[in-house]
């Protein structure tokens, strides 16, 4: 039984539909990350799960119980907000105890739970302080502590790190990961627009765009087998290079393409439809590109526009004829190439991605068809 089941969730504000029928099955104890560009509906989806927004259509089940009409406090959820949302007039202790006091828990139980949450989050010295006397990181920990005190089945985070500075963000991210490990039965749903947070924290990532789910899967699956152009370009930094290509030959196990700028590539895809003569898009990540050796087939070649040496890697921006933006290659170590010199790049066949005219990954489509 899935702990959290979303079926055809639709959310509209007046005439404007912002979620268009979202289906999701989330298992107990999973760490799920919603990721997508700003305004794609991540927060809205999270808030419908919390019950802060009523859904316009579809059904939401938590532990097999339909919660469409259940108020937030009875859904067994807790939420950590981007702005912390601490009650400014209450001490840290009272902030954490507020929910339990409303639930008429005994003083002793409240005290135990607050103390234990405080010790997990190293908040004991601050229990009598008001939020305004805490640093940003401490406030965020109080917000997490308040959520822990609710002893929720589902933990919801809405961009919890975006108000912290870079160093704290990494530290708090690691703390959240540890928290997740220490609560194996608690489902966590985490919203972010930062793909590094998504990659490092998630058991499974849900990529959203304009109110649609683009792909759901473990981070490495999204990285190695993006289902479409959007996911391919959204996951991974710097973003995947996309090159216009034309299919020249297709067999039962391979597709051969001519790449703009004069290169060629052969992509292993079993059972792809024969799209001979059709335009397709070839995708290759900057870190998968390398300088072609003697006699190796070049995938893309052009003049070096600029090289940025960062120490552990060198970024090459290569101007390719007929391609507007430079192709980016990320080579390990320091590579000394003169500006303007001709460069030939290639990659392993297994690291190439082909997308059909609709932007769908031909590999993923073909596998889906075979499975069916």
């Amino acid at each position: 039984m899935a702990d959290l089941k979303l079926t055809k969730i639709v959310k509209a504000y007046g005439d404007v539909e912002v979620l268009h029928g979202i289906d999701l099955d989330i298992k107990r104890g999973e760490f799920i990350v919603f990721v997508g560009p700003s305004g794609c509906g991540k927060s809205t989806l999270l808030r419908t799960i919390a019950g802060l927004e009523r859904i316009t259509g579809g059904t939401m089940e938590i532990d097999g119980r339909v919660v469409n009409d259940i108020p937030p406090s009875e859904r067994g959820i807790a939420m950590v907000f981007q702005t912390y949302a601490l009650y400014p007039h209450m001490t840290v202790y009272d902030n954490m105890a507020f929910g339990m006091r409303l639930a008429k828990k005994s003083k002793q139980e409240i005290d135990e739970r607050v103390k234990s949450a405080a010790s997990i989050l190293q908040l004991e010295p601050y229990l009598n302080r008001l939020p305004k006397a805490l640093s940003g990181g401490q406030r965020q920990r109080v917000a997490i502590g308040r959520a822990i005190c609710r002893d929720p089945k589902v933990f919801l985070f809405d961009e919890p790190l975006s108000n912290l500075d870079a160093a704290l963000r990494v530290a708090t991210r690691i703390e959240i990961a540890k928290l997740n490990e220490s609560m194996p039965d608690t489902t966590m749903i985490y919203v972010t627009h930062d793909q590094i947070e998504a990659m490092t924290l998630a058991d499974r990532i849900v990529v959203l765009r304009d109110g649609y789910v683009e792909q759901v899967g473990p981070p490495m699956e999204l990285y190695h087998r993006p289902a479409n152009l959007f996911v391919a370009q959204f996951i991974g930094s710097p973003a995947m290079n996309i090159m216009e290509s034309v299919v020249t030959a297709a067999s039962s196990s391979e597709v051969a393409v001519d790449v703009e700028g004069g290169g060629k590539a052969v992509v292993p895809i079993a059972g792809a439809p024969s799209l001979k003569g059709h335009p397709v898009k070839l995708g290759v990540r900057p870190e998968d590109l390398r300088i072609a050796g003697e006699g190796e087939q070049t995938i893309v070649s052009g003049k070096l526009d600029i090289a940025e040496a960062l120490g552990e890697v060198t970024l090459l921006y290569v101007n390719v004829e007929g391609h507007e933006e430079p192709i980016l290659a990320k080579l390990s170590g320091y590579v000394d190439i003169e500006r303007g010199s001709e460069i030939h790049l290639t990659a392993d066949a297994g690291d190439l991605h082909l997308f059909d005219g609709d932007g769908q990954s031909m590999l993923v489509e073909a596998e889906r068809k075979q499975a069916a």
């Binding site: 937030p72 009875e74 702005t83 007039h89 507020f98």
Partner: protein, 413 residues
């Protein structure tokens, strides 16, 4: 000349004079006194910038000094002197004050002022808060807000005229043009009037007493429990004092209950509401509450909107119902603003004059300090006692004013 033209001219001259003062005095400072030229240019610029604030503040300081500080000193002097027949004056020390303290009318005014002080700010703030919360969430809230705010635009005297009509009475048998009497005449002995005139008010009083008791308990709790996170001695003493005041309020309100439930009511007789002593004070207070609720509502509604929506949502997730949300999340977050509104109205109430002057002129035991002062100064022509009254009002207002400014500045930070 036509008075309208005269007014226009005054505005033009006034505004033009102000603009002219700032512009030309600034020019004078920068071009003539400390010119930013020559060998001393840098020093001159610094000097000019040090002088500039005082230059610009001068008109305001001068006007305040002339129209505010000087009259205070002069009033103090007058309160210590007596007019001598044939011109001149005598120093009489505190004689005017002793005379005043021996007059029952003065103590009546003090008592009434205290009543006003307790009832009007509390009622206006409470109604304003209620209106702010209720109108924020409904579609026609803005229309309702405008209606509630409108009395603010009416002068106190205008409002008094309106309410005098509400309280008006005609002999029995004639049509009552006063709304209150018209309603009153509709009552007859029976079940309904018992409910409306005895049980409902009794419930209101019990509710009020309960609310005050809750407040007193909240105030006294940290002292009783010896909460070590609690405030220091001074704050504890203050809390204790206010709590005792609350206990007194509870006693005062509950002790009216027997009378309310048993007294004979003069059904069918039109009442002269403004002559019913003690209660007529409340009929006057209603006017000011009616006016000030709009003010409280506008300020508090802005404060309510300033509350971060997330804290409310977090409380909803924590399981807070509408009452918990309002009293435990929203109200504490705008407590500073509530205090500012409360003290602002308190100051206004201490100075209350127009409404009493226009409606009863202090008769039937409705005297207040400002009207008492006016009586002495301009009708009895006793400048000594009149000025002493003015000093008492000032002494009462000052601490609240200081506190108000302190709170307002804290809010702005």
């Amino acid at each position: 000349m036509n008075p309208a033209l005269q007014g226009l001219l005054t505005i033009i001259v006034g505004v033009g004079g102000c603009v002219g003062y700032f512009y030309f005095s600034n020019q004078l400072l920068d071009r003539v006194i400390f010119p930013a030229r020559g060998p001393n240019a840098g020093v001159n610029i610094n000097r000019a910038n040090q002088v500039r604030p005082w230059l610009f503040l001068f008109p305001a300081i001068f006007a305040l000094g002339l129209y505010l500080a000087y009259p205070v000193v002069e009033t103090l002097r007058l309160s210590l002197t007596d007019r001598v027949a044939g011109g001149g004056y005598d120093w009489v020390g505190l004689a005017n004050y002793t005379q005043m303290f021996n007059e029952p009318k003065f103590w009546e005014a003090m008592r009434n002022n205290m009543l006003w002080l307790i009832v009007v700010p509390a009622a206006a703030t409470a109604f304003g808060l209620l209106a702010a919360q209720l109108t924020d969430r409904i579609a026609w809230g803005n229309v309702a807000k405008s209606l509630i705010f409108m009395p603010m635009a009416i002068s106190f005297v205008g409002a008094s005229v309106i309410w005098k009509l509400v309280y008006d009475s005609r002999p029995a048998g004639q049509d009552q043009i006063g709304v209150l009497n018209a309603v009153w005449m509709a009552f007859e002995p029976g079940l309904w009037s018992t409910i409306v005139l005895r049980i409902l008010p009794a419930l209101l009083i019990v509710g009020f007493a309960a609310a005050v008791a809750y407040g007193a308990w909240l105030l006294a709790k940290p002292i009783i429990e010896r909460d070590d996170r609690g405030p220091g001695m001074l704050a504890a003493g203050l809390r204790g004092a206010v709590a005792l005041l609350f206990v007194w309020l509870i006693w005062e309100s509950v002790s009216t209950l027997p009378g309310l439930l048993t007294s004979e009511l003069p059904y069918g007789e039109p009442q002269n509401w403004l002559t019913i002593s003690f209660w007529n004070n409340f009929f006057l207070m209603v006017v000011l509450i009616w006016i000030q609720t709009g003010f409280a509502m506008v300020i508090l509604s802005a404060a309510l909107r300033g509350i971060p929506e997330e804290t409310v949502e977090a409380a909803i997730i924590d399981g807070a119902g509408p009452f918990d949300l309002f009293f435990r999340i929203k109200v504490p977050q705008i407590m500073g603003t509530i205090l500012v509104v409360w003290t602002t109205i308190t100051i206004l109430v201490l100075k209350i004059f127009d409404i009493v002057f226009a409606m009863t002129n202090g008769q039937w035991e409705t005297q207040v300090l400002a009207n008492y002062m006016y009586d002495k100064l301009f009708r009895a022509n006793d400048w000594g006692v009149g000025s002493a009254g003015a000093m008492v009002i000032m002494l009462l207002v000052t601490p609240i004013l200081v506190w108000n400014v302190y709170n307002a500045r804290k809010e702005m930070r």
